[in-house]
Symmetry: C2
Subunit: 396 residues, 2 copies
């Protein structure tokens, strides 16, 4: 289908507006709206944060119903149909007598998914859909993944040498890329709901895992509960910390989440599962960390450790719609092995570290036949100072 | 210094002409020459192959001395001063009464190095030097390395996944990059004097190591002389094969080269070095391989195997001015460890192989502190189909 050049132009505007709230709308999508009359933009708006008005409402409120009559609304996502934290936008659009609505993508949310478009058409409003659909989907790639699969959008980030190393043979790893590149990586953290690492990364690097402008939720996979009480993660913003650990007990339920205060019967309930020894060892440390505001989840130990899939789903149930995995090699490898990674960000410093015993960026089991390793899709290559960022999608 | 725009234009022409012989001039440099009179090119030439006329002679021969009188000669390298396979070009230029000579770079050959320029000036010819010097040096990077350090120019090539793997955990390695990319890599072989691999690559992959248009000299580092008699390298063009092996004998001289026929006293001379056992085991296989035309060099085994530096120097003494190392990881790692690599070609297929036990592209000892790993210089990023080539210079 060939679209009207003007429609493409205004949809581009909505995407630009939507991006202004990048990193602030989760679990909602980023949406921008533009109202056009006689070829001119007469109002615009974007969704600033979950709980605040939707983009089209922002735009509508700035002008009068008389202005709107006969106007066209441009919006990158189908208007909402359901009562959420705000009333349905579709009714507001009909009430305001728009002549035409141009939408980039249908809302993947099963509660909407074309219903609003149908309702608008039924009300006699012309609706055009599909303009810059690919760009609009990519803009809200987290949201589309969430709604289409009921699971979080997961990205894996590595910072490596040209030969794929993240640490030398003696474990030296600071710094492989330039400061500017590391800041860029921090700005990516700002666009994800949580940052996930394995316990070895915490012990070896003692990271903050902060974004450039935000303090994200930080997740540590720590089967043996080795997290140091004096680490940055347990001391700076511990209320943002989530730890996944294990009781190595086959009888344990799928997971026992603890947060806030430890229930008085905790020790007993775990004793019932024959874990008394572990409880004795761990209880004091759990208590200290939980009392600082962190959350601890207990997962059954499986043959290869804690299940990445279960961890992803628990985080999703907690409302964390996107996960940014930063390492180490085994943690990233585990997520690849379980085919959970949606997007890859590989920062390459064009230098050679070498070494048979140096640490490569992606561990785990790996793919057996190289012919089975699929090419990433939509690969982007970007120069950042002396470094190079290669990113792409696994297409899972 | 600011150069005349026309001079830059014509020097660019000489570089373009020189490149026509890429891969054919070794051990000589690539040189192009352009003769200009009244702002117009009246003749041009380039050095086609060692033994054939130099570029300026090619250009001079096409026209008459009357044409040349008062003309300007453009050339990317200082004309030769010495009798080699051809008489000195500098005398020919003076004899032909050029008015002006524009040269990009001084010849790094100690036998020339400015002497020709001096002689031209003494003969009253105006000489301009230094235009597009960087480009002209890069064009003949092998030659400059050779003449300035008396050693070969060495490049390391890998074809790896985004996470730096050249084989999966079960050793699967075919194919990581696309056919088009592999053909591009073959075309690079055409520009090097020899292709070098370790014995494991021969045993695992049984490669031909041929170029896209040429059959290069192939070098195998094979300390235990495990090369199969039915391998492609020992059967297809074995006269192009050079093997470095070891006698594991501390008393052995630096190396004993054998080529063509085995000398009748070989067994005895090695017996003298207390290597009788090894000789008995190896003699028949050596004989078979040598009789096919291959060369075998014996090197003393050092603490970490055969010395890459010694191998490089032996190849240089054999007239092989540039070495293209294709693997495997340990062979490449060894050349990096000994700081012998000048240029790196990393072909990246943007896909993830993963695996703790998968093979990374550069082995060896590696660099200890990552802060000691220098950035490559003049880094180039090139998209080749779905793959990406990152190349650069170590600046050693």
């Amino acid at each position: 289908m060939i679209y009207n050049e003007k429609d493409v132009f205004f949809i581009k505007k909505t995407i630009g507006l939507a991006k202004k709230a990048k990193g602030f709308t989760s679990p909602n999508p980023m949406v921008g709206a533009v109202i056009v009359k006689n070829g001119k933009i007469i109002s615009k708006g974007y969704h600033k944060r979950a709980g605040l008005p939707h983009a089209e409402i922002e735009a509508i409120r700035k002008i009068t119903p008389r202005d709107i009559k006969g106007a066209t609304l441009y919006i990158n996502l189908e208007p909402c149909f359901h009562f959420g934290q705000t009333p349905p936008c579709v009714d507001e659009i009909i009430k305001n007598k728009f002549q035409k609505v141009v939408v980039s993508t249908v809302d993947p949310n099963p509660e909407v998914k074309g219903k609003s478009i149908k309702k608008l058409r039924k009300a006699g409003i012309e609706v055009i859909i599909g303009i810059l659909e690919k760009e609009a989907r990519q803009l809200n790639e987290h949201f589309f993944k969430n709604k289409e699969t009921n699971s979080p959008f997961i990205a894996a980030k590595t910072a490596q040498s040209l030969d794929g190393k993240i640490a030398s043979s003696i474990g030296s790893s600071k710094w492989i890329t330039e400061k500017k590149t590391r800041d860029y990586a921090k700005s990516l953290r700002d666009t994800y709901d949580c940052i996930l690492v394995g316990i070895n990364t915490v012990i070896n690097d003692n990271p903050h895992l902060d974004g450039l402008t935000k303090i994200p939720v930080k997740v540590v996979i720590d089967p043996k509960f080795r997290i140091p009480l004096d680490s940055n993660l347990t001391n700076k913003h511990p209320e943002k910390l989530i730890i996944f650990t294990s009781c190595k007990d086959k009888n344990l339920d799928n997971f026992l989440p603890f947060s806030g205060r430890i229930q008085p019967n905790l020790e007993i309930s775990l004793r019932n599962n024959n874990s008394s020894l572990l409880v004795k060892a761990g209880l004091e440390k759990w208590h200290k960390i939980i009392s600082r505001g962190a959350k601890i989840f207990f997962l059954k130990e499986e043959s290869r450790g804690l299940s990445a899939k279960k961890i992803a789903h628990i985080l999703y149930d907690l409302g964390l719609m996107s996960i940014f995995i930063e390492g180490g090699a085994e943690t990233i490898g585990r997520f690849f092995d379980e085919q959970l990674v949606d997007k890859v960000y590989t920062f390459i410093a064009p230098k050679i570290i070498g070494g048979k015993y140096a640490l490569a960026s992606v561990g785990g089991l790996g793919i057996k036949e190289v012919s089975d390793a699929p090419y990433l899709k939509e690969v982007m290559v970007k120069k950042l100072g002396q470094d190079i960022l290669i990113s792409g999608y696994t297409g899972i």
